[in-house]
Symmetry: C2
Subunit: 268 residues, 2 copies
């Protein structure tokens, strides 16, 4: 890791995925941590962007610091925070019913959204129904969300990942919760914030205060990171340390601009 | 109500829907009760067929008796019982994980299926995952069902009604549970037993020991009762005391063979 390869020099900002790039599940990727430190010394702006909404940015800040990376909370964007910024900016605020975990509630409240209880939503409806991954998902949450949406609440999904890998094996992701509420309410989400939708990257660009040509998206999934970058008109780099293999890239219609085996290969 | 109109004389068996035909929610339809008593005196075979799987046949027997109808448990078929008969007949039996309520478990066990716990299914998989309406639906039930289905369990839905009307307003139906589990498992149900699928009517014919030409389906919903009867090749009568209006029939591609305002009009 001496100096940055010439093809990566033009990008002053990097949008980095976490799972599959910085760590795989519980296991950190040593080469990636080293590369991030090196990129930092080169003065690159970095933003870690993840579809996971269950943990707050503060949780990620702590985890990255525990791995020895000097990161600031403003260098982290999860789909919950992106959702909160989008709602705040577009609508100013509003009464929000959340189907999701503590990290999502924390981010929404952090941007001044008024998170209401299930009882309050059942009785008086909501402006927004925000749906993310929720291990406390149950029948009455679906019933309450469908009722509010049928009464006119905006239906926002943090992301639509159908499943996600865990130490217990594949588990239902936010997309499963979204499918249940879509079926019951007879309506697809008005907005899906997370990758592969462009929203989260648009919000990321604004946060970084950079133009899209100045930024490179680094991720491990062709169907979320790379497709999302493509939709947002941002160049992308696929790292083969996570979900997508080189064979899958060859079969895919969407191609990354760059492919590397490891973050180490960013450097000569 | 003197005698049966000539056009209804040829049918020695009647398959009757419950909600919308015999009662609407909690309210019994007096004319329908009278008509059923009269049909009984004429020696018609009757089978009450409902997509609802949360209550057992015993529960329905009691409710109908409380309304003054002399019914036998063998004159009642809910989607849970139909599912149990189908699994018993086609496969003999098997280890069954149930996402559903007490009434469904009761019917499955009644036909000798081995209903297993969530923990047992998580650890060792299942032969069948049976999904019905479940007010105790939650994240870990989805996770367990998806895991078993991905490992090869047959995925059976009692029915696919997305919602159902209740005194509390519209609530999520079995179809909402099915959508969540389909999304997480990446697989549509192998079998959907309830209306508008023909399965439940085929099972009903066998139970009544009648040929399809001898039977008339009486229901209030064009999209379940009438469509299901059509698929099963059974003649149908739409009663306008429930969900479907005459205008909706006119717009619909599927038409009932007969339409009446009330069960009273079966008679001269």
């Amino acid at each position: 890791m001496k100096e940055l390869k010439r093809e990566f020099e033009p990008y002053s900002g990097l949008i980095l995925d976490l799972d599959g790039v910085i760590w795989v599940g519980e296991r950190p990727i040593a080469e990636a941590l080293e590369a991030v430190k090196k990129l930092r010394t080169l003065g690159k702006k970095m933003l870690f962007v993840t579809n996971n909404s269950t943990r707050s940015r503060r949780d990620y800040e702590k985890r990255l610091r525990d791995l020895g990376l000097e990161v600031d909370i403003n260098e982290i964007m999860n789909s919950g925070y992106a959702t909160a910024l989008l709602l705040k900016e577009r609508y100013g605020g509003g009464r929000t019913y959340v189907v999701g975990e503590k990290g999502l509630v924390e981010e929404l409240e952090g941007q001044g959204l008024q998170v209401i209880s299930r009882e309050e939503c059942w009785d008086n409806g909501a402006d927004f129904v925000v749906v993310g991954m929720d291990r406390g998902f149950n029948y009455w949450k679906i019933a309450t969300a469908m009722r509010a949406i049928r009464q006119g609440a905006l239906f926002i999904a943090t992301n639509a990942d159908k499943t996600f890998p865990s130490e217990k094996g594949l588990l239902p992701g936010a997309g499963t919760m979204v499918a249940a509420i879509s079926t019951a309410s007879g309506k697809k989400p008005d907005i899906i914030v997370g990758k592969p939708n462009a929203h989260i990257f648009e919000i990321a660009l604004k946060k970084m205060n950079l133009r899209r040509e100045e930024v490179l998206v680094i991720g491990d999934r062709i169907d979320t990171d790379i497709e999302g970058a493509y939709k947002a008109g941002i160049k992308s780099l696929l790292i083969l340390t996570g979900v997508t293999s080189r064979e899958e890239v060859e079969k895919s219609e969407i191609k990354p601009n760059f492919i590397l085996n490891s973050m180490k290969e960013l450097f000569l």
